[in-house]
Amino acid sequence: MAYSEKVIDHYEKPRNVGSLDKNDASVGTGLVGAPACGDVMKLQIKVSEDGIIEDAKFKTFGCGSAIASSSLITEWVKGKTIEEAGSIKNTQIAEELALPPVKIHCSVLAEDAIKAAISDYKTKKGA
């Protein structure tokens, strides 16, 4: 399969690989996907007092498109409010990375991952 240049770039030089302290109250963690399906994404955000995403990190088990989708979304959400980050659509990711139809699920997973991270952060804040 031919990958787009942007997918290759993110795959070879992934941005923001790593982990944040999941016990930190300002960190939200999203873990989506399943090993049996061939992709798992862990996406973490660190949110400031005023609701801005200061940092984002990911780890992904999956194909090149899954790695690229998660790398891209960590770039996008940094500096955004959690509301802005939560409104990112998978179609934007798919378009930016020129994902072929069989790889659309990778962008869906990235959208799910950021939503899960935000929801985890909100739950923690509420608790």
Binding site: S19, A34, A36, T60, F61, G64, I67
Partner: protein, 421 residues
């Protein structure tokens, strides 16, 4: 390779000379045509172009002679009589013809077929079609090492079984089935024994008498011969009869009509002759390379698992699961290597390899597997380069893998409730 001249080496496909191209490690998918084979084929595209079935002139006789020599060469590597070898377009056709042909011919006496879940798709799909026609098919499971259970086979074959089809060597995991024992069981029960030896010819010693094989499928392009040609061995004593699939001029003893492609027949014959002569030395060389590769990988990477039996296996195959690293992602990282993956993402079906699943390999492990095939033109230098490349990428991708983190934290990944999507 000592038998190859410098000029012949120059005729190797450029990808096997040019180190900028990916290193070819997919010898179970196909093999490059040996330059010595190609050289033998060429005249039959030009000067010696005759129709081997033309009986009235020199051009036909010359082509026919060449085809008959090729038939002898094919017969020789499996211990058969040349009269028992018919040419086909490849192992897919041979498998279809053997299984459907025998099933149809004997359907009034016996309507049960036995095969194995890890067979090539063309065998399984032929059996599915027969099932739809009303035949009864038993798909034998395999043990964890990929081999069938002989006791189970003995219980399964009945006096209603017309044909038992078990492959010689598996294309994904390279394991060798106990053909001689299977042949004995079939003979005892009066069922014909067919074996798909597309991956076995030239890799393991084969003898249709000793192994009591009644039908055998052979493929040209898996044994350094050309694509588009294969053969089917059909026993004459006791005679195996089959209903042909292709009707026409009655060539190939009526079992497979159509003008024989002389250059391809010659190529298959020469490929068999070379394999017969060089198999011993080639296997020894490949075993050394394969062990070198495997030892380096398991010595330097934790959590890697070999799929399929190591002892009952051809030396040219490794199938390894690299836990916590997804196969397609890994393939992208090792793009300087041409290998194939058992991951779902690389197959049209979106299912991970059914062969690995049949061994009991978990779906998540099947997703992390690579099939590495080495062969006649693989060098030690290429093996070393491949090892470095694989280790580097597996380590890099594990650093990026949330599952690797969990594993290191002592979390059992199968204990997590994943939302399947």
């Amino acid at each position: 390779m000592s038998a190859m001249t410098a000029q012949q080496k120059n005729e190797l496909p450029h990808t096997l000379q040019n180190r900028k191209a990916p290193i070819y490690l997919d010898y179970q998918a196909t093999t490059p045509t040996d330059p010595r084979v190609m050289e033998k084929m060429l005249p039959f595209f030009s000067e010696q172009f005759g129709n081997p079935h033309s009986r009235s002139h020199f051009y036909g006789w010359e082509a026919e002679d060449a085809v008959e020599i090729a038939r002898e060469q094919v017969a020789s590597i499996i211990g058969a009589n040349p009269k028992e070898v018919i040419f086909t377009s490849g192992a897919t056709e041979s498998n279809n013809l053997a299984i459907k042909g025998v099933a149809h011919f004997y359907k009034d006496k016996r309507n049960h077929i036995v095969t194995v879940v890890t067979e090539h798709k063309c065998v399984l799909d032929s059996c599915r079609h027969l099932e739809q026609e009303g035949f009864e098919v038993t798909y034998l499971p395999v043990k964890e090492n990929g081999l069938i259970d002989l006791d189970l086979l003995r219980e399964t074959v009945t006096d209603n079984t017309s044909i038992v089809s078990v492959m010689g060597v598996n294309n994904e995991i390279g394991v060798i089935q106990p053909l001689k024992e299977i042949g004995a069981i079939c003979r005892e029960k009066g069922a014909f024994f067919h074996t798909d030896c597309a991956q076995a010819v030239g890799k393991i010693p084969l003898d249709v008498e000793d192994m009591k094989i009644d039908l055998m499928s052979i493929s040209g392009h898996k044994i350094y011969g050309p694509m588009g040609i294969g053969a089917l061995y059909v026993r004459r004593r006791p005679r195996v009869r089959l209903v042909p699939m292709i009707n026409g001029g009655g060539q190939e003893r009526g079992m497979r009509s159509g003008t024989l492609p002389t250059p391809l027949c010659v190529g298959l014959g020469e490929a068999c002759a070379i394999a017969e002569k060089e198999m011993g030395a080639e296997n020894e060389r490949l075993r050394r390379l394969r062990d070198r590769m495997y030892q380096s990988i398991v010595g330097r990477l934790p959590e890697v698992y070999l799929n399929g039996d190591m002892d009952q296996r051809i030396p040219g195959n490794l199938n390894i699961s690299f836990a916590f690293v997804e196969g397609e992602g890994l393939m992208m990282g090792i793009k300087d290597l041409a290998v194939s993956s058992g991951s779902a993402c690389t197959s049209a079906s979106l299912e991970p390899s059914y062969v690995l699943r049949a061994l009991g390999v978990e779906v998540e492990m099947a997703h992390t597997s690579l099939r590495i095939g080495i062969g006649r033109f693989t060098t030690e230098e290429e093996v070393d380069e491949a090892v470095e490349c694989i280790i580097r990428e597996v380590e890099r991708l594990r650093e990026m893998s949330p599952l690797w983190d969990m594993h290191n934290e002592g979390i059992d990944i199968s204990s997590i409730e994943w939302a399947e999507h």
